[in-house]
């Protein structure tokens, strides 16, 4: 997919973002098909956990998400090698993740958060680790790192191809769902090689 080129990433333009959170719900929806989330998020029975977060400050508002750093500090910090580069994206192997939070601390963008894991529509429990619940012991729910995977692990709704308005770029890289769904077109999939070519072309025109 990326032929040894730099990783793509999604970048938001705070001049356009109005903070409507359509990206957050869209992100959740396409990543939770196996949790019973339908074509959109309506049928959800698990909490809404997006992999990007709309940040609101005094002066701006925009979603923040993983930059897919080439020398990913999160992967460097991960003691169990659960974070790897795959298909042109830095991805978390959720089954391998131990919930140690090292990646969240290492990430300079604050793009990783830890939440409960879900599978098949219910909480995904640890095999042996138990916790005391009132008087009984019960298996503790797994806590894992969530972050943007450029929709590599997502199942987009089938309708998408038919509507066909916001398809992937010429390199064949699929447009992440947050980018497609943003009503203000505030999100862009930045593909470094394309950016570089565009800039070179601009320089040649001078």
């Amino acid at each position: 997919m990326n032929n040894g080129q730099a990783n793509s990433f999604v970048l938001a333009d705070p001049e356009k973002c109005i903070g409507c959170k359509a990206c957050e719900v869209a992100c959740f929806a396409v990543h939770n098909r196996e949790n019973g989330v339908g074509a959109a998020a309506g049928t959800v029975s698990v909490p809404v956990i997006p992999r990007l977060y709309v940040i609101r400050t005094d002066s701006f508002m925009m979603p923040v998400q993983c930059r897919h750093c080439e020398n990913a500090p999160c992967a460097e910090a991960c003691p169990v090698s659960a974070i790897r580069q795959k298909d042109g994206a830095i991805q978390v192997d959720e089954a391998r993740c131990i919930g140690c939070k090292s990646c969240a601390i290492a990430c300079p963008f604050g793009a990783i958060s830890l939440f409960r894991a879900y599978s098949g529509g219910s909480e995904y429990k640890n095999r042996h680790l138990k916790k005391r619940q009132d008087t009984t012991l019960e298996r503790k729910t797994r806590i894992i790192a969530y972050k943007c995977d450029l929709c590599r692990g997502a199942t987009p709704p089938e309708e998408r191809e038919e509507s066909g308005d916001k398809s992937g770029d010429e390199s064949g890289e699929r447009t992440p769902w947050c980018v497609s769904v943003c009503p203000e077109e505030a999100l862009t999939l930045m593909t470094p090689v394309k950016e570089m070519n565009a800039r070179l072309a601009a320089v040649r025109r001078l």
Binding site: G19, A41, T57, P183
Partner: protein
Amino acid sequence: MVDKILTVCPYCGSGCNLNLIVEEGKVVGAEPANGRTNEGTLCLKGHYGWDFLNDPKILTARLRQPMIRKEGELREASWEEAIRYTADRLLAIKEKYGPDAIMGTGSARGPGNEANYVMQKFMRAAVGTNNIDHCARVCHGPSVAGLSYSLGDGAMSNSIPEIEDADLLLIFGYNAPVTHPIVAGRIVKAKQKGATIIVCDPRKTESARLADTWLPLKGGTNMALVNAFGHVLIEEQLYDKDFVAKHVEGLSEYIENVRSYTPENAEGITGVKAADIRKAMRQYAGSKKAMILYGMGVCQFSQAVDVVKGLASIALLTGNFGRPSVGIGPVRGQNNVQGSCDMGALPNVYPGYQPVTDAKARAKFEKAWGVKLPDKTGYHLTEIPHLVLKEDKVKAYYIFGEDPVQSDPNAAEVRETLDKMEFVVVQDIFMNKTALHADVILPATSWGEHDGVYSSADRGFQRIRKAVEPPKGTKPDWQIICEVATAMGYPMSYKSTEEIWDEMRGLCPKFAGASYKKMEEQGSVQWPCLTEDHPGTPYLYEGNRFSTPNGKGRLFACEWRAPLEQPDRDYPLTLSTVREVGHYSVRTMTGNCRALSQLSDEPGFIQISPEDARQYGIEDGHLLKVISRRGKITARAQVSERVKAGATYMTYHFWIGACNELTVDVLDPISKTPEFKYCAIRLERIHDQQQAELQIREQYESLRQQMLAGAGAHE
């Protein structure tokens, strides 16, 4: 088998088109369609706001069976029984107290224009009163009154798509990114195309953040700022003398009225720097295509109508009418609040804005409906508490698709009003707080389950379509009302919504050419649309001819009045109600969408400044008590630098943190719109946060159980 049904989003007045995706008779998704206003985009409510159709019973449950209160309890009844009972009780009250003892509402939400037409016809022809009003009264009522006075039409003079081609946008008390994300897209585009954006708002809203110039006026000082705008235009000779001479009246009186509002004087009242006021007006007057957009920050004050007229005067003075991308836009909040006004769910006008006091109009409707009609203006919705509790004049209330206990000010008083009435009918899709006080509940079909027409904020008629079968036991709103009318001895019956629509447009010259066929072909038809071969009107007042009696625009200015309830030692902070992007109105719909309810849930937030938070020892995320002279609730603190010290903001969607328990029922003298944007409160810190969190959860669960039981639903 996957079906796609093209319809219009049921949230906000943007009028976005979308396809509902239906699998095996259930809605499973939505995708944007290429509508006139949304052009293939949707906000999160459009994308994910359909889930309430699947009735997940998160906040409340769908009504599926008529109910009658017997021995104090709501009990399931047959349709026949419920219709008969409703008709008999209404007839008895009419007999005993006269028709004006009965009040009815229209519904600005899911039912659509046809149901509103039928409802106002029912009230006027079957009951015999003009006591019909709806929630435009608590939102853009002042726009209808003010713009009708100034320009002749109580609606946006411009179109939503035109926004992006304006050179300058003057945005007053309007936070489009939260209320109309898709309209906000046009504002963002305008900015990208080089437009200057000026925002007047006390809070640093998303609109203010997008602005080139933000005029942070003190809450409740709108009229002083608008007068100062006028003062600058006159004093600096920035106004269009030729346009004013030809098309506008009232200049000399206007000049007199704004004379004392120098920017320096206004600075003392509003806190906005005099130089900024001057600069804003120089930019506004110097721009070729300047457009005003405004919202609830103008309308929800006791001096709302004056400010609407004042803003229209600014546009009149600068000749910003009769062309694309200029004019004045009150962007309507609820999806069909424009439509409910269009259909005459108002106490002073028949459908098509034809006054009930106009003998000629009355004669036309009397002939069409075959009955003598009352000639005096009916009661306003917001006057009902007073008319019931103080004057004992209204005995029955037919509430159709509204939840006044949640949406109207001073909730305790609203409840007392409902309980004092002899007979209350609630016709709705969900069990709600108002229905707890009903004597009869009539369950209706929802958006997605019936056909009809909505009017978008920019006067655009668009078809809504049935996508799924309604729950058994429900009926379309217009059909229920027809059955009650028939049982009362005024037979009404229609075969389809199109038949109702055709009767309506036969009586309304402004809408006469907007047939179902044309909507099918064009997608959207903007009124006025006078004839079958007319495509509709994107912007009003072409040729600078206004719809006022003499065709001229009318200038207006008057003295600024401070809001009524000022902060004092006991209640030192002000409260303004606002909205939140992921929720809609009284939250029965979005609160029952799994994804939306999770993004933001009970008890709701109160925004406070860091200074006030420090003073009260409140941290971001803490629960706290909010208290006014009328009530006391719990909410969660959201400490924000965007808020000025002394001011607080709460969204009105939440049921536990219900800000309308606190708000004051002071009304604008003309439009009778409440002052939701200003009342005095105090905050109390809660020391045991854990206990408070627990209490909120218990309160939520008990409220939910009450709703489920009320709807006759069992988990």
